[in-house]
Symmetry: none
Subunit: 137 residues, 4 copies
Amino acid sequence: MFTIDSKNNFPIYKQIINSVKESIIKGMILPGDKLPSVRELAKLLTTNPNTVSKAYNELERMHIIETLRGKGTFVAIDYIPKIEAGNMLKLKDEIKKVLMDAHYMGLKKDDINGIFNELYDELLNDKDTNITKEDTV
Amino acid sequence: MFTIDSKNNFPIYKQIINSVKESIIKGMILPGDKLPSVRELAKLLTTNPNTVSKAYNELERMHIIETLRGKGTFVAIDYIPKIEAGNMLKLKDEIKKVLMDAHYMGLKKDDINGIFNELYDELLNDKDTNITKEDTV
Amino acid sequence: MFTIDSKNNFPIYKQIINSVKESIIKGMILPGDKLPSVRELAKLLTTNPNTVSKAYNELERMHIIETLRGKGTFVAIDYIPKIEAGNMLKLKDEIKKVLMDAHYMGLKKDDINGIFNELYDELLNDKDTNITKEDTV
Amino acid sequence: MFTIDSKNNFPIYKQIINSVKESIIKGMILPGDKLPSVRELAKLLTTNPNTVSKAYNELERMHIIETLRGKGTFVAIDYIPKIEAGNMLKLKDEIKKVLMDAHYMGLKKDDINGIFNELYDELLNDKDTNITKEDTV
DNA sequence: GTGGTCTAGACCACA
DNA sequence: GTGGTCTAGACCACT
């Protein structure tokens, strides 16, 4: 369910963040569900509890998960997406970088679109609205 | 032409790499054109020459630019795109990350597609082939 | 009457303490009134009896409530305010923190004063003396 | 300049945060100024670099300070105050707590107002606008 | 030199 | 049991 790749030079705590996000987006864990405890997940991933803790803290700051004192960590039930100007710029920068990388790999527009759609369906499929209130009804 | 943002938490040498790539892709500098010297660019960007040097070295390793001893640094005239399995995986990982970020910002598939196309046109438009057949001729 | 917010990162037992204090200050429960039993309140708040017990113990240590063995817990009828040097320092520290937070939120002196007065009236209004001379009579 | 109190049961990293904020608000360090390095400050306060780092990270998240890769940490030059609903609620909660504490110490409205004004002048005096753009002109 | 990441291991407050 | 804080010490990427 949650995976990290020790060969990946991306920081472990960020891999955990993305892994949790992915599990939530894919619906493998639902709003309100309990996440593994810091210690549990640390054992599962054979990493340090502090590293998991750091990941959980960042996820909480994004309002993606919530901590209930002494009880554990849970998927937020009321996540409200919001677009900050800074985030939008970062997103565009990332997309630009992706497009340039793809271009230098010789991929054409259709190729990139293909990958894009493939990954989109894998992640979100037609659950595109699964974080808005209407859907929780 | 080349720009960096010292507040951006993306490494400056990588920002330089991306800036050079972007200029090439947009056709602002053409294959065979001379790039500013390491010292010149360092002054322009008010950064450390070592940082510029690091960027140039990496660009050379990608065969995007070429250094001719004593003459300077030039945009490669014979760039041949190639798709390595490792790079493809990285690209997909980045796209996945972008999609998840976009999703958590509340963007729908059409929104993301819109941004994607906007940036694609800004970067490449119908110059999609300017590093392949036409250039190798 | 008594409320807690499990998502609030403020400890639940302290939330209970503040909730009880607030009810007393607002006059919703009067000196001599019986408080719900530990178990009752735990059920009401869907929390652990130990947590309620901890809150009651602390309130008793402050002489704000009193426990009569076998009879229950009551609002103290003879609360005598006292200013200890340590408490005064803590209070000033808290106020300083509030002022800094408000400043970084862009609030001006008048704004803060406005909030301050609003909350003061909501809490105490002109009941400013209800724990001192009038009550000790 | 920066001080912590090891007897204070408030977490050290939060004390550092408040200490830095206070120094900035009082104008002891100005926008653009370099803060002591993580290691320096850790030595000064005889605490662990990780603890200082945690404080700096949170301050950066608040946009109060900025990190320039490899160069150090600086007071932000373009802090823009913003009021989020959540923060406003927290502020009001804190003020409410302060008022209740003061009340139970026997302080009257005038007493609290006195302390409030004293601390406000000590901190901000007539520099009330020192974080807005007009003032940096 | 700078900050960022990670580990191992400790202690604490809270529910 | 839970997460939060802190230390000591290591290694790394970046400028």
